[in-house]
Symmetry: C2
């Protein structure tokens, strides 16, 4: 679907939502609607879509060249970020629209206050925008699959070259380099060794790989705007009993959660499928997170596969399914693939061996 067709589809949702316009501010939503990827930092970027499908891409003049090339039929409204905060330009593009849907999980409080003080009525509209973004078309599905194919090749390099004695910093740097050389943006390897892998969000450090370490290798990157995100595990030497059992538990949780990633289920059904398996094994480790998250132009995007979400799964949604089990003193095991919801059930967009690789 072209970017302009997405704008038209969004316009089609405004009337029922009772909105005069939508203001999208997330990088990924802006890119989805216009093809433009910005670098926000402290500056204001947005896309306005008014009823009727007109609107504008608003960005600092700093980004004039990339904005000029953006494949969108919307107006392009640039402002000088060294002289204004961009809100006067936003005001101009709203052309009298008053009831504005905004991305409530991205818009900062300061800007929401400024808009309300200027007389706008703000309405949460993340769900409205995600209603479009969540269901991927064939081209988007192919893009996620392509990103995963790049990552699958990176795993082969990783396992072929990883040596006892190498530090987490070095192996993560090497994998990030390989991803970037392939054109991957925002390469996000997160490869941890031994007990450190029991901290799912630990920062790669000076720790070196030792014989007897489990290895959790989470690898993600964005190719042509779409993310792939996978996790595989390995063992330096003959796997310990703990590692074998942990892998068996997580593989069972993975199989059940993938099977649950289907139309008719809600997000929490997928979480429940992995949780019941992992939580039955406190002697091995803890269940520290939900089953996964949607993925597309953002690495983590709604819906999230957590116990609090009753969002129904729809055709075209793509989720990471990534159960894990974690023991702070021993390590972790996590298995992660990117799963497409289809009318015929789940389809794995990142098919590659899940086994506990022995190094």
């Amino acid at each position: 679907m072209s970017h302009d067709a997405r704008v038209d589809a969004l316009d089609g949702l405004l009337k029922e939502a009772g909105l005069d316009a939508v203001l999208a501010t997330k990088d990924a939503s802006i890119a989805y609607l216009t093809g433009f990827w910005g670098l926000q930092m402290e500056r204001f970027f947005g896309v306005t879509v008014r009823k009727g499908g007109t609107g504008a891409l608003i960005a600092p003049s700093l980004d004039r060249d990339s904005v000029g090339q953006a494949p969108t039929g919307l107006d392009k409204a640039l402002y000088d970020a060294a002289k204004t905060n961009g809100l006067p330009t936003l005001h101009d593009t709203l052309k009298g629209a008053k009831r504005i849907g905004v991305e409530e999980d991205h818009l900062i409080w300061a800007r929401s206050k400024a808009l309300q003080e200027a007389g706008y009525e703000l309405v949460p509209a993340s769900d409205l925008i995600m209603e479009l973004r969540a269901a991927k078309d064939a081209e988007e599905i192919a893009a996620v699959k392509h990103a995963c194919a790049q990552i699958i090749e990176i795993y082969e390099d990783l396992w072929a070259n990883l040596q006892v004695g190498e530090s987490e910093i070095d192996v993560n740097a090497r994998v990030a380099y390989a991803l970037a050389r392939r054109g991957g943006s925002n390469p996000g390897p997160h490869i941890l060794f031994g007990a450190h892998s029991g901290d799912p969000h630990g920062s790669p450090g000076e720790r070196t790989l030792q014989a007897g370490d489990v290895i959790v290798a989470d690898i993600s990157a964005q190719f042509d705007g779409y993310w792939g995100d996978m996790t595989r595990c390995a063992y330096a030497g003959t796997p310990s009993d703990w590692a074998v059992k942990a892998w068996d538990v997580v593989k069972e949780a993975y199989d059940d959660a993938v099977a649950a990633t289907r139309v008719g289920n809600t997000a929490r059904d997928v979480d429940a499928a992995q949780r019941v398996v992992v939580e039955a094994h406190p002697e091995i480790g803890a269940c520290l997170h939900g089953a996964g998250h949607a993925i597309g132009t953002e690495i983590h995007e709604p819906p999230f596969l957590v116990a609090t979400s009753e969002i129904p799964l729809r055709e075209g949604m793509i989720f990471t399914v990534e159960p894990g089990i974690y023991h702070s003193e021993i390590g972790g095991i996590r298995l992660e693939d990117d799963i497409l919801v289809t009318a015929d059930g789940p389809v794995n967009l990142s098919p590659a061996p899940l086994d506990l690789r022995v190094l």
Copy 2:
């Protein structure tokens, strides 16, 4: 200053600000107050400091190991992000405080609404927190200087190895790898060739370096929590008249802006110093951005050196000073150093030759 001493200093500002407590939510503010670096994504993280200097670090249980190791005397309050959104835990740590300072340039609208609906009165407090963060102590200054020293060495490698025919993607990947190998987090090389360098926020692509190209090499990374951020330029072959003139203009703007980075001036004085020079040369290119931004635990942090800011410069502030001139069809020139404000005037924390390097 220890993390707990910073909490005490923040507590010392609460009474005058009429606040019962502060809620810090930026990664960099959380790290500043507690030593803990999180990975927020969609999950809630925060630090509460109540009057009296008590409070808590709030994070998902996913981060339990890193939270456990955080060098803070504050309470540590974990919640299961697969089951709650963290706000009930935040509520517990506020212990009846009602008038809460928040980082209005970070807190998302959805959370601000939820807090207001729960009966809290929110007050913008970014300036309050930045009053502390902005003035760096000796240890922080040394950390920024160390980060810059790493980047200075990277430039020597870059200029020694960059060859005509190499693509932007490849050279950026190589520099990111070199930064990461040295322990740099979030390595951010942004190296563009020829006309593409006329787009200060262009994305590195397949374009290869050609004889006659100008090269703008912006390199940043975070070491031990603190950022360095520099820009140098080069030319593939004998520099064109345009490049020589553009460099002369930007060097004059740089000298004047650095000289203006002193106590007694405001942020906009520094911007004005570079702007008047660059804007006098429209035949060479455009002035597309302000003079720079503060730098520390964030790569871009307030105050920003822009025409709209009357914030006075204080001892211990560190700013990038980075004037540039940009021509969409020819290219850009930018020179950037990290400048410390002292009682005795500006001190360059990233001293290295500024000349237009000839390759």
